[in-house]
């Protein structure tokens, strides 16, 4: 420790002992508080040493330093949130800051609500996220009694309308989440209106009582696809709502006249009762209504972005909307990062921004193998960008033309704009993780279908077979998918995958168009493809692929010129910042970092956290009775005094023990991997389980008891190994990352267990129904059974996704543990 620092420290700290009463009442403090005080002192010490450096170089007098210290200490002591009255100035500042955030949120909401959004929970999650952001932002304002939409003139109107926007978002997302169960109506509406089924419109006469129900179901079946592809397709949704409303009404009519129905119609009604139409229909009808209303309201609120911008710059001094309490700044600047200081109080740390951007740019140049890690990196960067851009102005324009153009970045303002666009891309990319996993999963499905002795095994299908081109195209999809996984940044590879999917879709369509003239084998294959929903998934995959490509190339393009980014960070433009205290910190934070660690160490030593027996060092006069502190904190110091001579062998012994344990852990995680793979193959078997008993048995039976039992046993083994691995990792004081990774893995095992329980229950239910195997006369029962089996397949598929996630975590865990071996 250099001498001058100790000298300067004695001064400020002796001041501290009477400006901070906390130190005087030291003995009554708990461990946690002591740590906080140590942290605060650490930060203060950093500031002092900075001040000292300044004074040294600018030859200021010691008195000035003292004044500085006084103000700093005073600032640090100021009790933050307790003030009841908030003066007009901070009111306005807070409002300005929040309006800027609202603009950003509205902007991103606008882009969320334009374009196509497939019907899945991801879209509603985005809405939920937006809503929770808004709730957080608005909670400090008195906006409870907001009722009607105002035309935008000033900031108060924005707050008013944003409160409405948030209410509407919540309703939209709630109703939207319920819309997910629309898919439950698909199997019945398809199978009931099929050729020769109950409600085949070709067969039902125009005046039949069943006619209208059939029409409703057909209308639903025809339009649901558009809704699934795009939840924002209000036209298709309106039709779906009409179809459901008609279906619900007709079911009511049928129920009313159930006594007078002919046997065939009564049969149909009985089957209809077992579909979700009667249970889910009325609620879905209401939910669509709410959803459509809120969607149009939402669009109306955010429509006029020009007016929004103008109003944002018009304060409303006479406003009744008040900031009730200034938000508490919960974030604590860690002493290791004094550079972050500069980003406080409305300024942007351009150097840091450029640093993050360059890091991303650098990373985007190397190939990316598909893994969840890649997406976690996107999330990580996005969070870094969020942090560094926290006080930056919002994106000026989200105009597509400007975004795609590679604007030259010349100055700091441009850099912030670039940062905002990168932030947006990263956000979109991070949100694509789930869809990308599905895309990858589709490759596995193709692999399963073309596996040896599976339906589309190329070795089994003759060259003349009409199935040959289809099998080949599935094979292509599988290969292209694997290639794409090797580097998801490569546009040529993803184009090839896109083409392979297209080609397969064409093959399926062309076979389906001539379905009447096809041999049974083809019809069977087409049935399977329909069962697993390959076509609709293929469409999703293409969307995902497109979005991934678009955002990644956008990102690459915008970060293509690292030099200009570096230069722009230094170019302050006309809005010059006079070199200030903070500016100085920014440029000189690197050498400071070294001092910080030594200072923190010194201070923690003073507080008895890690007191080493260095008796030669004179202790600054911070704590009046150091011995007293030591006695009261025995658990903070190490329990046994180890003499230096014994330390090294003792440590070595520990390390050897640790290594042994880690090798064991490593082996355990390998075991888990093989169990998971085994499970995967069992599930594949379950998927291909055939309806047994065709010739001999009298009942339709899903004979899956053996694989189910085996999976049960495998899951228990998985759980056991997972828990034991976790215990051994905890026992060995490993890293937090490893522990949380293991925690996640265990949670996924639990999830897998639950998902599997669902599958098992479904299979049992099917077997309890035990539909007799009669011939075509009991088509209805078989149809219903098919619906149930579809449900099982869906659940198995969902569960398989869980397993893929699990596999991924185990691989990460394996890697992490591997680093220690």
């Amino acid at each position: 420790m250099p001498k001058p620092q100790r000298a300067i420290m004695r001064n400020p700290f002796s001041k501290l002992t009477f400006t901070m009463p906390t130190v005087k009442t030291w003995p009554t403090f708990s461990t946690k508080n002591r740590l906080i005080v140590a942290l605060v002192l650490g930060i203060l010490a950093v500031i002092f040493s900075l001040v000292f450096m300044l004074t040294d170089k600018n030859s200021l007098t010691r008195n000035v330093v003292r004044d500085e210290i006084k103000t700093v200490v005073a600032k640090a002591e100021k009790p933050e949130p307790k003030k009841v009255e908030i003066d007009a100035k901070s009111q306005q500042e807070q409002k300005d800051a929040d309006i800027a955030k609202i603009l950003v949120l509205t902007n991103s909401l606008q882009s969320t609500l334009s374009g196509k959004r497939p019907l899945n929970s991801a879209f509603f999650k985005t809405l939920d996220k937006a809503s929770s952001d808004l709730t957080e932002l608005l909670k400090i304002y008195n906006l409870d009694d907001v009722k009607e939409l105002r035309s935008l003139k000033n900031q108060s109107d924005i707050f008013n309308n944003t409160a409405l926007l948030n209410q509407s978002l919540k309703k939209l997302s709630d109703a939207g989440n319920n819309l997910l169960s629309l898919t439950a109506l698909i199997p019945s509406s398809n199978s009931f209106t099929n050729n020769n089924s109950f409600l085949d419109l070709q067969r039902i006469p125009k005046d039949s009582i069943l006619r209208k129900m059939g029409e409703a179901m057909q209308l639903f079946a025809k339009n649901i696809d558009s809704v699934q592809k795009n939840t924002l397709d209000t036209e298709a949704l309106t039709i779906i709502q009409q179809a459901i409303a008609q279906g619900v009404t007709q079911l009511g009519v049928l129920e009313e006249k159930s006594g007078t129905l002919n046997p065939q119609a009564r049969d149909t009604l009985e089957s209809l009762r077992q579909t979700p139409w009667s249970t889910k229909g009325p609620q879905l009808n209401k939910d669509i209504q709410v959803y459509l209303e809120q969607l149009s309201l939402l669009k109306k609120i955010i429509a006029d972005s020009d007016a929004l911008k103008i109003a944002a710059e018009t304060p409303d001094p006479a406003s009744s909307i008040k900031v009730l309490a200034l938000p508490q700044k919960t974030e604590q600047t860690p002493p290791e990062a004094p550079g972050a200081k500069a980003s406080n109080e409305g300024e942007v740390d351009y150097q840091k921004l450029a640093g993050v951007l360059l890091q991303i740019s650098n990373d985007m140049t190397s190939p990316k193998t598909f893994s969840n890690q890649v997406f976690q990196n996107f999330t990580k960067w996005k969070l870094m960008m969020d942090e560094v851009l926290e006080n930056a102005p919002p994106l000026v324009t989200s105009d597509d033309k400007l975004v795609t153009q590679n604007l030259p970045v010349k100055n700091q303002a441009g850099l912030v704009q670039l940062g905002r666009r990168v932030q947006e891309s990263l956000n979109l990319l991070a949100n694509l993780e789930k869809s990308a996993n599905n895309l990858k999963g589709q490759g596995s499905t193709a692999a399963i279908m073309t596996a040896p002795s599976a339906l589309l095994d190329l070795n089994k299908i003759s060259v003349e077979s009409p199935l040959r081109p289809l099998a080949m195209s599935f094979d292509d999809v599988q290969k292209a998918n694997l290639n794409w996984q090797k580097n998801i940044l490569d546009t040529a590879l993803s184009a090839a995958l896109n083409q392979a999917i297209d080609h397969t879709l064409e093959q399926i369509t062309s076979l389906e168009n001539n379905v009447q003239s096809q041999p049974p084998a083809v019809i069977e294959v087409l049935g399977k493809i329909r069962q697993i929903g390959w076509q609709s998934k293929a469409v999703d995959s293409k969307t995902t692929l497109g979005a991934l490509n678009e955002q990644m190339s956008l990102l690459k393009k915008q970060l293509a010129d690292p030099e200009s980014i570096t230069l722009a960070a230094k170019n302050k433009e006309s809005k010059a910042i006079v070199p200030t205290f903070r500016g100085y910190v920014l440029l000189s934070w690197a050498p400071v970092l070294l001092q910080v660690s030594s200072l923190v160490f010194l201070i923690s030593g003073l507080l008895g956290l890690r007191h080493s027996a260095d008796s030669s060092a004179p202790h600054p006069t911070l704590i009046p009775n150091e011995d007293g502190v030591e006695k009261r904190t025995p658990y903070l110091s190490s329990p046994k005094e180890t003499k230096p001579g014994q330390l090294v062998p003792a440590l070595n012994e520990k390390i050897v023990g640790l290594e042994k344990k880690f090798i064991q852990s490593y082996q355990s995680s390998e075991k888990i991997m093989s169990y998971t793979q085994e499970l995967m193959s069992k599930v594949t078997q379950l998927r291909t389980v055939q309806l047994g008993g065709g010739a001999g048995g009298a009942y339709v039976h899903l004979d899956a008891s053996k694989p189910l039992e085996e999976i049960d046993a495998a899951i228990i083994s998985l759980k056991q190994i997972g828990i034991r691995l976790f215990l051994s990792i905890l026992e060995n004081h490993s890293s937090r990352q490893l522990a949380s990774e293991t925690e996640e893995m265990n949670a996924l095992v639990e999830k897998t267990e639950a998902a599997f329980a669902d599958v098992k229950t479904l299979v049992e239910q099917i077997n309890q129904k035990a539909v007799p195997m009669r011939h075509s006369s009991d088509q209805a029962g078989i149809d219903l059974l098919e619906l149930d089996i579809n449900l099982v397949l869906k659940e198995v598929k969902r569960w398989q996704n869980d397993l893929t996630d699990l596999n991924q975590t185990i691989m990460t865990l394996h890697e992490l543990v591997g680093q220690y071996v």
Binding site: I716, K719, Q720, R724, L727, L730, E731, H733, E750
Partner: protein, 144 residues
Amino acid sequence: MALQDAYYIGFELDHLHYVLPTKSVYQVFYYPQPAQPSHLLKLDELIVFEGEPYYLRMPQKLLLFAPSDGDASEEKRELQEKASWVVVLKNKHLEKKSSQKGLGFRVQAVTPPFEWQPEVESESVHEVNYAGINYQCLSLKEQS
């Protein structure tokens, strides 16, 4: 604070959920065979898992329960004998080798370890909600 101190392992006993700090747990494993009491040894049960003997007792003898939960009725005993997971505690009296195995007990189900920081000040029974289930934090009886 060691990482281990922040993690708790959950288990189910007689339809109630409890947690113990992982630092007091030596091992957990699945043992589906029902109990075979061995009165001769004056232990409730002796089992062998992966070649290692484990001595099991009724949980009421090892853990401090809230007054209402802890009584060892016949019905609970039966439930106990069928419970298929085993939690083995550490032997507190062998401090030097802190991972030395101690006595174990049967439980109906196990929840993998999770992070939890109980409030230090509060004297009352600690409860934690994890994944929608309320767990009661137990402490160990002094073993004789």
